[in-house]
Amino acid sequence: MQVQVGSRILGVSEMPDVKMLNVTKTFDKGRIVAVDHVDLFVHDKEYLTLLGPSGCGKTTTLRMVAGLVEPDEGEIYIGEGRVSGLPPEDRDIGYVFQQYALFPHMDVWDNVTYGPLVKGWNEKKSEGIGREMLELVRLYERTDAFPRELSGGMQQRIALARALAAGAKLLLLDEPLGALDAKIRNELRYELRKLVKDLELTAIHVTHDQGEAMAISDRIAVMRKGKILQVGTPQELYMKPQHLFVAHFIGESNFLEGYVSKVTKKETVIELRGGLMVRTLDKTHKEDDKVVIAVRPEVLTIEKGKKEGVNSLFGQVEKFRFEGTNTRCEIRFENGDSAVVVRPALMTEWLDVGEKVTVSFPVEKSFVFPYPKRGLREELTLE
């Protein structure tokens, strides 16, 4: 039902792709590189999320698409048209600001119909669309309220309705749920996605919350320090991280340092510190390469006592915590390395600190990355 409503009003026919080619933006006379040679392609009617730690350039990227910031280098296309130099009012976008930016001196109705008004649409059309957008976010009965009289969640929905009412085909959302408390945030994510899908919009959503990104997106672009490291569906990023940082940032990983000791047709053998050997199916490294092997805590299994086997590492329990659904166990291996094991609580034996255990993982369930030039710890910091 809502699909038809939205489509009719917006006259949705052709949706834009967004293309960013080699886009760079610096601040402070080049001292701060906020966005560093980014290429990004957003498909028609796609829900894409820009995910990354604080200060990595997500907002700047979004603002360049909106025309609020002009790139130093590179080109941006919305649909067929190149938008470089075009002011925001000519780009036909909807932008939802993190703090909503609802006009404090206007009531809900005037806020929502602001776009139609300044675009000079006729009164009937403006009122129609204002009404329908407010019904869509279920706030039609609050038209006379001023923004400060509304709860955070309501303000968020008004901000969304306002952006949609301006007839935008491309919706840009900068941490739209960031200012809400956890429970409302979780509810609104699904609502937000449903709305975008119902109205057949293209959306670029910025967040630093990986849970939100995983739940809401068709694809996620992971950013760090102004660069996009990997773009993919949530599953792809989880299953096949192509970058150490992605393995770290999407889900959780244990990292073990080592050298490639042998490469055969079937597998690669890696020697960890202290001479421990593990096997992987990795094909990308040569003998003697320094590497980091990443294993997700939830693929590790744990047994009491010392057991021999493929990819079995012997160690001692250092911490053991019950975390509701899961248990979280920190193990220190013989060679001094450590790893975290997460298991469903109902399926785990209770372990005591100091207990001797064997931890193992299947050969196909690990990722191998070249050892980062500037060191593992630096590579994984969020700044």
Binding site: L68, E89, Q99, F103, Y114, L117, G120, A166, L172
Partner: protein, 567 residues
Amino acid sequence: MNKGIHGIDRKKLIAKIAVFATLASLFIFVFLPSFFLISFTFTKWPDVYTEVFANPFIGDTNWIEIQKHLALSLRLAFFAVMLDLLFGIPLAYLLARKKFWGKGFLEDLITFTLVIPTSGFGFATVLTWTTTSGLGYLIGRGIVDIDFLIPLINVPFMMLIVHIALTFPYIVRTLQAKLEDLEPVFEQASRTLGAFPLTTFRKIVFPLTLPAIFSGGVLAFARSLGETGATMVVSSIYTTAPIAVIRWVSQFKFGSASFLGCLLIVVASAVILPVEFVLQKRGGPTFRFFSIRRIEKKILKTEKFVSRRLSRIKDVISLIFILLIVILPIIIVLNSVALSWSHDPDTGRVEGSVLYQLFGPSNYFASLLKATMVSFASAFVATYVATCIAIPTVFLIERHRLGRFIRSMLRIPLIVPTSALGLSILLLWGPGGLKLVNPGVWLIVLTHIVFSVPVVVEPIIATFEGSEIPMFEGAARTLGATPYNTMETISLPLLKRGILTGFILSFTRSLGETGATFLVMGSDVTIPPLVVNMVEALAIPAALFASTYLIALSFVLLLVFRMVTKR
């Protein structure tokens, strides 16, 4: 135990005494002089009535004069504020939202006209517009005559120009501060929703900053209504209300002078206080604009055109405006001083040179030196005393239940035109009243304290409210500091910047004050009246030198001001 209770009692007593002393000094030094003129006029009403309305020889001529002068002052203030808004708003927007080369210089220039003693600046402006030493150089005669009356609005051109130059900084500075506080995100939101820059300004920025525009306008209006120094220099045949007050006092027409002074106070209050009251309401008022759909489309079209085609022009116009009314007069004064340093540039005569007038028989240099001493001494003492009253007053305003009331009351000395104030002081402490103090430095000091206290109080309050002092004080108390310790180690150091800013602002204001000083100075002439006297005595080279001297002085003050206010 007993001792503890005793201790508390004593502390309470001391606190009470401190509150009482602050209130008493506020009353004696600030409020009493502000209101005295009104009560004087009432108590002497029969005499005043006879002089103003029923003079046995001239009938109600004085009353007609009063109406004329007051009307001119109001017209002048009104049109000055309107033009301030016209040029000031784009300028404030430019300064608050854009970064560009020379921005700091532009801001300094705007502050400059706030700190410069106005009589010197008035002279520079006259020179610029009415003589061949100024803009007239280009066409071989003055651009306008000094008595040129702008048709339709009936405001003397020179007065309007000078008043705009001296009052537009109030609009620019207040609005700029407000805009810098206002997140640009609202403007950005408006743009992403499809509004052109000018539409965004009309629908978002303007309504959100209207309180600041109003309060800047109020300050500008008050300043224009009371301005005397520059106005006297450019007045030629016209008389504004403050000038009339001064002239009548010198002719011992106290009845007319005090009646006109009263009217000035009443008119200023009637215009300004309602606006202040609306603005002071919690959270500020919400202005809603009803847009008329039918013309809305036309407006939008125009705004689109202007936003697209003419966006740069308004910035350029603002800059030309500054160039014409601030920079040019300064340059022309400096240039003229250089040209006529040793001989008159036109006739070549030595008698028309700066040097001759300074050190020759009229010996203006000695007068200038003496005036400088008087100016600095009185400005320093007045500001010092005012600061001593202002600091406890700020605590009173923030902590005492009378606080809000005191704060509103402190607006009044700021809007009372200074010539009315001077008359009030003269009639209160001086020979016309209690005969406690004779005209001279000490009466100047008493006069300047009146407006200096509110000038010092404002920045201290701003610092107080911006620095979370109560929180830090609370922290200090939990760490075991006594209230006195807390004051000395926490509050005063945190307030230092505010106190310094207030001190400098008050000092410069005191140094440049003309209207009141004229009435109370006796033979202790300060610099600004001296410049007026030079112009009236047609000692132009001397006036040139004095103006240059004032410009240099303001420049130094500006540097000090910058050092204090910038982090």
